[in-house]
């Protein structure tokens, strides 16, 4: 690995952290639980590494590790997004129609 490439991805890392802080500080506290499960889903981005590992493995052991990684990352992605959606669907506005 080249040190210049590392410096470049480190820059991406730092800028993303700042972007994250900006975005998340605007999330109201009533949505903090969905925020956590949504970020669970986003941290499932490890799936990208897992897919490559499982798809390019040359030994049985690599293949085993890669497939296992795909399983766990996929649980995060699918479980995280679905449960977030389930929660957010419950946050409703006050029904305005026909009040007694």
């Amino acid at each position: 690995m080249d040190a210049t490439i590392l410096a470049y991805v480190f820059l991406v890392f730092v800028l993303s952290l700042f972007l994250g802080v900006e975005l998340i500080s605007k999330v109201p506290s009533i949505l903090h639980t969905p925020l956590m499960s949504a970020s669970n889903a986003i941290s499932g981005i490890t799936i990208v590494g897992a897919l490559v590992s499982a798809g390019t493995a040359e030994s049985k052991f690599s293949l085993f590790l890669g497939t296992l990684a795909v399983i766990f990352a996929m649980i995060n992605v699918v479980g995280g997004y679905l449960v977030t959606d389930r929660m957010l669907a419950m946050f409703k506005k006050k029904e305005t129609a026909g009040k007694p």
Binding site: I42, G49, G66
Partner: protein
């Protein structure tokens, strides 16, 4: 067009969608769509990765099918009260995935250079700590492990020794990574042990801080993996999650008036606090019938729920009472303390599940500004977060913690089974205040009795 450029474009789009999705979480009105944006971003990232040349799909499909099935199963089955356990498990699963990817990369290219070796080590370390730490947090939340802090002599020294061992492993591995399996496996083992040891001394009441912190770690683990495979999308997404967890951790600490290091190292609640002799004034009990007359005449009511309300599943009864109050022309709000529940924002989800419209969910600072104007504050299953000692009594262990100032409302109802102390073992002065009325008994039953009074009162 070159395939690699197409893949990069997809990754950029995914990053934009993740950021937009998080941005739309700033309001309940747009949040659900934001989550969908984020999911589309993830789909793009996955599709882009599958375009990489020379992948064999057989085991990818097997893994994806199993993971998807488990994910769907978990997301549909989990009860809203168990959401903290679910998030803890998802944190752990993210950490484990990062550990596995780093291990697979090392196994594939055992002849890595020093920089790659360093990133592999970090990925294993953060992933491993997140994995076992989350499992312990899950055990404590689901009460499979004792919620009390587990402390033993030599704990600090043992942890420091483990950290030094890990540091040594990291240096040895970075200097001599080629085929260095013994050190690599030791690093994994020590990381897994470290995860257990850092969470067991933390008490159940501090779990909101711990899952927020582990949430952050699971993002940073993804970041570290991004450094291993030099992939920007992992780094961007991981950093967004890392930042999110850090902010939530800060908010939780602030709401409990404690520093992060205090939460992590002190074992809060391990030593029972000397019970201060509370003011032995008179407690004024209130009958359901009298409570009804006060509520019937009230123009504004605020409910202040604690986790006890959710455990008793009383939120549905509370919502029904609120509807009757509204039909009677009373303005109803719910004031939520940031640490109410077992994780950040938990109480809001539980109330939303009971069909409480989100406009009525009010944050602590907002309700405190208008508390003097409210006729009745009804405290259900909350204790420490409404204890005025946090403002007045410098000797109190909870002094300085921000609270919901229910004592400033014109009348306070406290629904409580007994006059016991709260989580922190602190006597609550609120019960003896001039404007406080105690409705003793099971909170859910009391609310249901009030509902019955209202229905009877309205029909006559």
């Amino acid at each position: 067009m070159n395939l690699n450029i197409l893949i990069d474009i997809f990754y950029i789009l995914a990053a934009i969608l993740f950021a937009l999705g998080l941005r739309m979480l700033n309001s309940p009105a747009t949040a659900r769509k934001g989550n969908l944006f984020s999911a589309v971003g993830m789909l793009l990232a996955i599709v882009a990765t599958l375009l990489v040349k020379g992948l064999s799909f057989q085991w990818i499909i097997v893994g994806a099918v199993i993971g998807t099935a488990l994910g769907i199963f978990a997301a549909q089955r989990v009860a809203m009260t168990a959401m903290p356990e679910m998030v803890a498990l998802l944190n752990g699963s993210g950490g484990l995935a990062s550990l596995l990817v780093a291990s697979a990369v090392y196994h594939h290219h055992p002849e890595s250079g020093a920089l790659t070796a360093l990133t592999i080590f970090l990925s294993v370390l953060i992933g491993g700590v997140t994995f076992t730490g989350s499992l312990v947090a899950w055990g404590k939340l689901s009460e499979k492990l004792p919620g009390k802090p587990i402390l033993y002599p030599g704990q600090q020294i043992g942890n420091i020794a483990l950290l030094i061992a890990l540091l040594t492993c990291g240096i040895l591995f970075t200097l001599n990574p080629a085929g260095n399996y013994p050190i690599f496996l030791l690093s994994i083992l020590f990381s897994l042990i470290l995860g257990v040891l850092v969470v067991i001394p933390i008490g159940g009441a501090d779990m909101p801080v711990v899952i927020s912190l582990l949430n952050s770690y699971s993002g940073l683990a993804a970041c570290a993996t991004g450094f291993v495979i030099l992939n920007n999308i992992l780094i961007v997404a991981g950093a967004l999650v890392g930042a999110s967890g850090i902010i939530l951790t800060q908010i939780m600490c602030k709401a409990m008036n404690r520093s992060l290091s205090h939460v992590l190292f002190s074992g809060f609640g391990a030593v029972p606090h000397p019970r201060t002799e509370g003011p032995h004034g008179e407690v004024k009990a209130l009958s359901i019938a009298d409570a009804y007359f006060i509520l019937e005449a009230a123009r504004s009511v605020v409910f202040v729920p604690g986790y006890g309300m959710a455990v008793a599943q009383a939120q549905y009864a509370v919502r029904e009472l609120a509807k009757l109050l509204e039909a009677n022309g009373t303005e109803v709000r719910y004031a939520i303390h940031p640490v109410a529940g077992r994780m950040p924002g938990h109480m809001n989800v539980l109330l939303a599940e009971a069909n409480v419209p989100y406009e009525q969910l009010v944050e602590m600072d907002a309700i405190n500004r208008i508390m003097e104007t409210l006729d009745v504050a009804i405290v259900i299953g909350a204790n420490d977060v409404v204890n005025p000692a946090a403002r007045n009594d410098k000797s109190s262990p909870i002094y300085g913690m921000p609270i919901i100032n229910v004592d400033k409302a014109k009348t306070v109802f406290v629904m409580k089974r007994s006059l016991g102390a709260g989580f922190a073992g602190v006597q609550n002065d609120l019960f003896y205040y001039e404007n406080t009325r105690m409705i003793l008994g099971d909170a859910k039953q009391s609310v249901q009795n009030l509902i019955a009074e209202f229905k009877a009162g309205r029909s006559t």
